[in-house]
Every structure is written in structure tokens, then in C-alpha cells.
């Protein structure tokens, strides 16, 4: 039996579901499939808390949203993409409203907006502090009404099929039965999300293992700006669970061990009791996370069994604001930290949160490989540049999920070739089947558990490619990752069952993560400047002469790497200084 569709979407999170609906609406004759390793409503979009940005208020403008995004991204954003993004974001959020998303409201019934970090106007729409949850369930439930959308729930994609430079499907296996199948397609859209699990301490769910980035990279498509990894300043120690920026937007303060609002020492403005846009606690995430490291170096953070922390103080907001605007924050603090933010301080520290880099696409979500598209956190369009602003990702999923869906649908409707693929494709499928059945499921012996390799990879990334990096720390990390690739090949696999084999999934995820980790480290090593979230202690200044450029990393057929540096597209906002709080 061959499984075949016009468009196959890998991933059922916000980007994947929006893309699926876009395909179904563009051309109802097309058959579209969503393949997802978890049930779509379990995708990581469900965890997003704070909100989604789009300029709708009369005091706001598209240009201001664009400028905030571009300066927030330290001028590495593609400005044409940003202009399209800010223009389409309001329409997309309104569409979600029409589909039933329970946005929080003003007393008169209009959608409410809240401030967010790095944004000069209140433009972040929210559904209390469970925005991603509501957005994802709304999309999923709405997708159920399209009969042309087929789903492969709990199917794991292991490989992209490529015929003569053109992507023509995927290989995947069904978790429940273990059956391995080729699913052919005229166009494939990767919507697999980010890769936070490459690091030891992250807000990201277990499933965020960079699969789509590695799938594309192995197939020969370039990854862009992989050195830019966002640390969010406020994660709970031990678990890494996120305390949303909305907590600071509603008026929360960050204080050091002396109760001092230390951000005032880092060129982020002067403290005032009420939140001030683009100032202090509402500065951008890269600058806040960097300030934490400096504060720790000065010995002004608090020592705990789970590392250095500072405190997030919400006590002055009172229980009414906390319960109406931040109920999930309270729930999470009570469950996981035994702390009640109404009365107590919340311990927090920077935590790996979001991947600015990803599969290189143009403004339509198309990659340089024919038939391959990408959208959402897996992709890099790039609207986020060197540092994403909070609440820009959810609208990005919608805007570029829709665009990629439309582009893939147009491509699939006009594609002359069938989706089946020839002998070359069948050979790839057989090779992949052999790898899965023989090398992985059939592996005997082996030295160490895969968790040992994974833990060491994570430690390597934290040591070598954290908030601050240097040529030396990165070169060391590169060597260690190389050795870990070798160790992965001989690691032990104990589970030989076909039925819901989660060890096999973990092994495949680890192998994807090792490739992604290498692209992060190599891209970081070669960017000899500091910009946004990429801070080199040996090159502390931004260098527009050499690096006002995206980095593209390719894997050649022989496994070697190749870099390119295309210049950033500047439309209306020439590079300037990033100014916050003054």
C-alpha cells in the first residue's frame, strides 16, 4: 500500500494546523495530511502563556510594530518579511477570534491587549495566561470541520524523500503498530517546532527536539541563523517551567538578593512603580538574561540547590490582578515551587526558550529545495533576527503557516509530476527501513544508555554555547559533539518491540538533536561579533561591516559543512543603536 497526498504537513502545532486549513481553503480538491508525533492538541504551542502581538489599537501602527521587532532583533531581521508579518498579524488574530478563540476582553466587548517586552505600545492579545492553549485548541477544533484534512496522529517522521533535488514525501512510522511507511506528496511543509531540548535547562516540552531542522539539513536544505538561541529571563529553577513575561507586563519586578531592582544598572532605564513600555522589566529578553549573568558575577544573586536565582516580585499586584490576568502563573508556582506569588517571591533564572534560527525560507515559507516548505519555530523567515520579541511567535505561526500552506497548495496544484517517485525514491525508502529495523530496533549490545549521551550533549551546549560564548568554549563544544556522535552510534538500545517503542523515538530524537547542536555551535563559532542573543566574550561588539548578514549552514553530500552569508534585507530601517529605558 502506498500512502499519498498532495501536501504533507509534518507537525500539528499552531503552524501545522494553520497551514493545513490554508491548503484546504486554497483548493478543496487537494488532499492534505497532518503527520504528528503527538496528538495535535498536545503540541508544544499548547504551553504558550503570555499572548500574541498585532497592532489593532488606534494609537498603534504597523510601522511601530515593525520597528520594535527589527530593533528587538538587533537589525538581523529580514525587513520585507517583517513588513508582511505586521500587516497580516491583525487579520490572522481576528480570524482566530472568528473561529472562537476566547480572547480576554475589554468591558465593552473588544479584544483586550496588554504590554509586552520590547514593545512600545500595548498590542499583545491574550487569553488570560493560557494563550497558546486556547489558540491551539481553537485551531485543532476548527480543523476538524475540513474533511479534506487527513491526520496521522502519533506517527513519527524519520526522513525526507528527495528525488533529483525535489522533495517528494517522508518516511514515517506509526507508534502504536510500529509499521514503517513512505508517505509521498507533491509538497511537504515542515512545522515541527523548536529545539530547546538540545540544552539541559529549558522551558520547552519533551517533544521539542529539532526534528524538522535536522530532517531538512540532512536532505540538503540550509539552516539559517542557528547561533541565535533565546534565553527567557524567568524560568522556575529545577523544572525550567516558564513564568510568562506577562507577569512583568502586569507590573512584576525583578529583584536581586538585596531586594534591589538591578536592571537599572544595565542601561535599561530607571525604576518606577508602574510598568513603563520598553523599559526595565519590559526590556528585551536577551538584555535581561545577560544582566542576570553580570549580576551573578557580582555575587548579587541568591544561591540555591538548583543554581543562582533572582526573584520575581508580584506581591504588590494583589490577588485580584493575579487571579484574573495570571491564574496559570499562580497555579504553576503553587504546584511546582510551593510558592504563592500573592504573598511570596518567585525564584527565577534564565532558561533556554526559543530558537530564532531554523530552516531557511523565503517570505512564502518556501525553502531553496523544490517542494519543501517550512513555517513556525522550525523555520527562519526571518522576522526574529538576533532576538525574538515575546508574543511575536504565535502570530508568526499563523501568518507564515497560512502563507506556507497557500504556497504549497499552489505548487501542488500545478506540479506536473506525480507524487509517487521513481526507483531512486523506492531505494531511499528501503534504506531507511533497514536503518530503523536493523540498526536501531535490531541493535544488540552497546555500551551506554542513550540518556548518557543526551545528558552530556546538553551539558556541552550549556558550557560552550550558553548566554555568553567564546571561540575557545565553542571549539571545545564542537570537539565534544563530534565525539558524542560517535558514542551515539554504539549506545545501547534495550527495547526491540514494535509497539509504542518510546526508546526508539528517544534515539531518533537524540540523533536529530546532535546534528542540530553541531549547526548551532559551528554557526556561533564563525560569527565573530556580538549581536542580540549571540554574545561572544572575545568579540563583544556588533560588527555590521562583516556580519549584517544571515548565516546559512549546509551539509554537503559527504557530510562536510558549508557556510554562506547573504546580506540582510533592509527596506526602511537602517541599523541603529538599540535603546531601552531612555
Amino acid at each position: 500500500m502506498t500512502l499519498s497526498h498532495d501536501v504533507v504537513i509534518v507537525g500539528g502545532g499552531g503552524a501545522g494546523l494553520r497551514a493545513a486549513i490554508a491548503v484546504a481553503e486554497s483548493d478543496p480538491r487537494l488532499s492534505v495530511a497532518v503527520v504528528s508525533k503527538v496528538y495535535p492538541m498536545r503540541s508544544h504551542t499548547v504551553s504558550a502563556e503570555g499572548g500574541a502581538a498585532a497592532a489593532i489599537r488606534s494609537d498603534d501602527s504597523l510601522d511601530e510594530h515593525a520597528h520594535d521587532t527589527i530593533s528587538g532583533g538587533d537589525w538581523l531581521c529580514d525587513q520585507a518579511a517583517v513588513e508582511a508579518f505586521v500587516k497580516e498579524a491583525p487579520e490572522e488574530l481576528l480570524r482566530l477570534e472568528h473561529w472562537g478563540c476566547p480572547w480576554s476582553r475589554e468591558p465593552d466587548g473588544r479584544v483586550a491587549v496588554r504590554p509586552f517586552g520590547g514593545m512600545r505600545k500595548m498590542r499583545t492579545w491574550f487569553a488570560a495566561d493560557k494563550t497558546g492553549f486556547h489558540l491551539l485548541h481553537t485551531l485543532f477544533q476548527t480543523s476538524l470541520k475540513y474533511e479534506r484534512i487527513d491526520r496521522y496522529d502519533e506517527w513519527y517522521v524519520t526522513k525526507l524523500l528527495v528525488d533529483d533535488g525535489r522533495v517528494c514525501g517522508v518516511v514515517a512510522f506509526e507508534l502504536m503498530s510500529g509499521r514503517i511507511e513512505a508517505i509521498t506528496a507533491k509538497a511537504v511543509i515542515l512545522c515541527t517546532g523548536g529545539c530547546g531540548r538540545v540544552f539541559p535547562f529549558t522551558t520547552n516540552a519533551a517533544i521539542k527536539t529539532g526534528d524538522g531542522m535536522a530532517l531538512a539539513y540532512r536532505a540538503g536544505a540550509p539552516l539559517k541563523d542557528m547561533e541565535f538561541v533565546q534565553y527567557h529571563p524567568t524560568g522556575l529553577p529545577f523544572t525550567g517551567i516558564l513564568i510568562t513575561e506577562a507577569a512583568r507586563a502586569e507590573g512584576g519586578w525583578l529583584i536581586n538578593k538585596d531586594g534591589y531592582r538591578y536592571l537599572q544598572d544595565y542601561d535599561l532605564g530607571t525604576p518606577s512603580p508602574k510598568p513603563v513600555l520598553r523599559s526595565m522589566e519590559l526590556g528585551p529578553r536577551d538584555r535581561l538574561s545577560q544582566a542576570f549573568v553580570k549580576e551573578a558575577e557580582k555575587g548579587r544573586t541568591v544561591d540555591t540547590p538548583h543554581g543562582q536565582v533572582v526573584h520575581l516580585d508580584l506581591r504588590h499586584l494583589g490577588s485580584t490582578v493575579i487571579d484574573t490576568k495570571l491564574p496559570f502563573v499562580r497555579e504553576l508556582c503553587l504546584s511546582y515551587e510551593h510558592v504563592d506569588p500573592v504573598r511570596e517571591l518567585i525564584p527565577v533564572r534564565p532558561v533556554v526558550h526559543y530558537m530564532m534560527g531554523g530552516v531557511h525560507t523565503d517570505i512564502h515559507g518556501a525553502t531553496p529545495m523544490e517542494g519543501l516548505y517550512a513555517a513556525g519555530e522550525v523555520a527562519c523567515v526571518s522576522i526574529n533576527g538576533a532576538n525574538r520579541l515575546g508574543s511575536n511567535s504565535l502570530p508568526e505561526l499563523l501568518v507564515f503557516g497560512a502563507r506556507a500552506g497557500q504556497a504549497a497548495a499552489a505548487f501542488a496544484s500545478t506540479a506536473v509530476h506525480g507524487a509517487q517517485g521513481g526507483a531512486a525514491v523506492r531505494a531511499q525508502v528501503e534504506d531507511e527501513r533497514r536503518r530503523l529495523e536493523h540498526d536501531l530496533l535490531g541493535r544488540d549490545g552497546g555500551k551506554e544508555p542513550i540518556s548518557a549521551v543526551r545528558e552530556e550533549m546538553q551539558a556541552t551546549m550549556e558550557d560552550g554555547a550558553g548566554i555568553y560564548r567564546s571561540g575557545e568554549s565553542l571549539a571545545r563544544a564542537a570537539d565534544r559533539l563530534h565525539a558524542l556522535q560517535e558514542r551515539f552510534r554504539t549506545a545501547r538500545l534495550e527495547d526491540h518491540s514494535r509497539t509504542f517503542n518510546t526508546e526508539l523515538v528517544a534515539a531518533l530524537e537524540l540523533s536529530f538533536m546532535l546534528d542540530v547542536a553541531e549547526t548551532i555551535v559551528h554557526s556561533a563559532l564563525l560569527r565573530e561579533e556580538s549581536r542580540g542573543a549571540h554574545q561572544r566574550t572575545d568579540f563583544p561588539a556588533r560588527d555590521d561591516d562583516r556580519f549584517l548578514a544571515s548565516s546559512l549552514i549546509y551539509r554537503n553530500a559527504d557530510g562536510s559543512r558549508q557556510m554562506e552569508y547573504p546580506p540582510v534585507t533592509i527596506t526602511r530601517w537602517p541599523p541603529g543603536e538599540r535603546v531601552y529605558g531612555r
Binding site: 481576528l94 480572547w103 476538524l144
Partner: protein
């Protein structure tokens, strides 16, 4: 040395086992560890063959529902300390076929979901230039029922679903009500047939176990009771009033 606690885990591998068995694992008893952290410790350090689902580990994705000491729970939000001294029994959710170990088959629920038409139905789609106005009070009408994370704890707790797999079940009915009560929706008539059928609301004997089990404060039992009243009024109207005036 950290204190230890025993997890008594149900194992079932269909290729080898005809019946489920249990296996004991000793794990560290740490203050901050949830049952899920214990399972992850087993998977990573003691036995790579144990299968279970998990993802967000913050109580919102709905993946990690299991039966802990006899109760349906999210294992990421159930702490070892609260179950001490152990052994802590970890079993798959009840009322579902078991695929393997702690993983259950929820296809039945996934097939029921579209039957209640959980999307906004309008006679006329408004243009996308502006939002439908909805006051905070109107939002409150349905908000609670929109908080369901599809974790399946309510189906596992439901005595009716245990006996009758045709029963639509608490989460699906609550979701239908979530849309029926949304001021933007005009589709309640279209959801009526499936809700009022024998396998819809009338199967429910109002034990309320679903509401007790819900980790997110949704009240499916309340949704069902409330809909029974609506449905009764509708059928009364249908009986009393001639067509056209309804």
C-alpha cells in the same frame, strides 16, 4: 543518600505478555519530583523499555494521565511526597484499551470529537475586518468549558463510559456546551441531535466523578445537567408548539 520510594508500575508488552504484570522500581524520593520525574528516572537510568506518554510537564498538554494509587491523575502534577511512603501504584488509565505498559488507546474519543461539531457555526460569516464583540460576562458563560485539556481523566473516572463505550462522554459533551454557550456561535440546533441521542446526555447518571477527576476545574457534570434541562425544554416546546413558531 536520598530517601528511596518504590514505584509499582504496570507492564504490558503485547508481543510477550498475555496479561499485565507489575514491576517494582526503587527511585529517589525528592521533594520536587512528580510521579512523572520518577518514571523519567526509570526510563533514563533503570529500564529503557518502559513506555508512557509525556510532553509539557506543566499540566497543560494532557499527555501524561495515568492511574496513580487508584485515582486518575496527571503524573506531572502528582508529587511523590504526597503519595509517600509507597509503594506508589502506577497503572494505565482505566476504561481504555491498553496499547502497551502505561499507554492507552484514545481513538474512540478522537472519533467522537468531530461528532459534536466543536467549531463556531454561523449562518453568515462576518468579514474579517473586526472582532465579534463579546463582553467579559459573555465570555464567562462558556470560559470554564473551554479549559478542557483532553487528558481523558474524566473518561477514566466515568462509570457510565466504563459500561457503555457508545456514551459520548464528559469531555465531548462539555466541549459541545462550550460552543453552544459562546455568544458568537449559532450552531446549537446542529449539535442537538447528537447530544440528545441515547448515547448523548441521557446516558449520564450524574455521578459527578468526571468533575471530581478534572485537573483543570472544568465541570462536565454541570454541563451535562444544564444541557439536559435545555434539551427537555426543547422537546417540550416541540410538543406544545406547532412548527414555525418554535
Amino acid at each position: 543518600m536520598a530517601d528511596l520510594i518504590t514505584l509499582r508500575v504496570t507492564r504490558y508488552r503485547p508481543e510477550n505478555d498475555t496479561e499485565p504484570t507489575t514491576q517494582d522500581y526503587e527511585i529517589p524520593l525528592r521533594k520536587e519530583w512528580a510521579v512523572l520525574d520518577g518514571l523519567n528516572h526509570i526510563k533514563d537510568h533503570l529500564d529503557g523499555t518502559l513506555s508512557y506518554r509525556w510532553s509539557c510537564r506543566m499540566g497543560i498538554c494532557g499527555s501524561c494521565g495515568m492511574t496513580v494509587n487508584g485515582e486518575p491523575r496527571l503524573t506531572c502534577a502528582t508529587f511523590l511526597e504526597d503519595c509517600a511512603p509507597g509503594p506508589i501504584r502506577v497503572e494505565p488509565l482505566r476504561n481504555f484499551p491498553v496499547i502497551r505498559d502505561l499507554v492507552v488507546e484514545i481513538g474512540d474519543f478522537m472519533r467522537k470529537l468531530p461528532q459534536v461539531k466543536p467549531w463556531v457555526i454561523r449562518e453568515e460569516e462576518a468579514s474579517i475586518d473586526s472582532e465579534y464583540l463579546q463582553t467579559p460576562a459573555e465570555l464567562d458563560q462558556y470560559k470554564q468549558f473551554s479549559m478542557c485539556i483532553n487528558c481523558m481523566l474524566c473518561y477514566s473516572a466515568c462509570p457510565v463510559y466504563a459500561l457503555d463505550k457508545d456514551f459520548l462522554g464528559p469531555a465531548a459533551i462539555a466541549l459541545a456546551q462550550r460552543y453552544n454557550l459562546d455568544s458568537r456561535d449559532q450552531g446549537s440546533a446542529e449539535r442537538m441531535d447528537v447530544l440528545s441521542a441515547a448515547e448523548g446526555i441521557w446516558s449520564c447518571t450524574f455521578v459527578g466523578e468526571c468533575t471530581t477527576a478534572c485537573p483543570k476545574g472544568v465541570d462536565p457534570a454541570g454541563a451535562i445537567q444544564r444541557y439536559k434541562f435545555t434539551a427537555a425544554m426543547e422537546s417540550l416546546k416541540a410538543f406544545l408548539l406547532p412548527r414555525g413558531t418554535r
